[in-house]
Symmetry: C2
Subunit: 110 residues, 2 copies
């Protein structure tokens, strides 16, 4: 499936941008809360380096995941759906075909 060829209408772009932003803010908030909660449990150097490893992995993950290019957006939304940062209802306004693809991809990744 070549999502690169998919056209996005003006309305769809608005929906996509809002959903993308919502998911991003949700994941970032959860991550910050996680780190803040976790930091209070650090008692030795190994704990600190585990936090460092965790942040390295999350940074790499988030940098790669939030890629707002229309050519990959179907896949990005499928992943966000699968990971729970987005609900299918929040993509309402996209054309039926896109929603079906996103929904199907999210299930395939399970």
């Amino acid at each position: 499936m070549q999502a690169a060829d998919t056209d996005w209408s003006k309305t769809e772009k608005k929906v996509a941008q809002a959903a993308f932003k919502t998911a991003y803010e949700r994941e970032v908030s959860a991550l910050i809360k996680d780190v803040r909660d976790h930091s209070s449990t650090i008692v030795e150097l190994d704990d600190l380096w585990r936090l460092h490893d965790f942040l390295s992995a999350r940074r790499h993950d988030i940098d790669g995941k939030y890629d707002y290019r229309y050519s990959v957006l179907i896949f990005v939304f499928a992943r966000l759906l699968k990971e729970g940062w987005l609900q299918l209802g929040e993509l309402e306004g996209l054309e039926r075909d896109k929603l079906a693809k996103i929904s199907s991809l999210a299930r395939m990744q399970e």
Copy 2:
């Protein structure tokens, strides 16, 4: 100056090990406190990545610094002295010549 040729007596080794451990524990405790205090101020993703950068730098620094080989120990102690993780008095028991070298190197690094 070739510290590699320096001999360390049994007594000196005991003093050196204790001082090394003291400095290490001091620096690690300060770092953990620093990260724990700092974590509560994280409100956005950039703050989190700044913490990540900070931890990357500190990890690299600490991994390199605490090198307990007698060939480099004079330099290690000089640095710990200069950085305030160790006091000259805590190296008492080392021969006069070593103390003079450590003290002089610590001043040179300033």
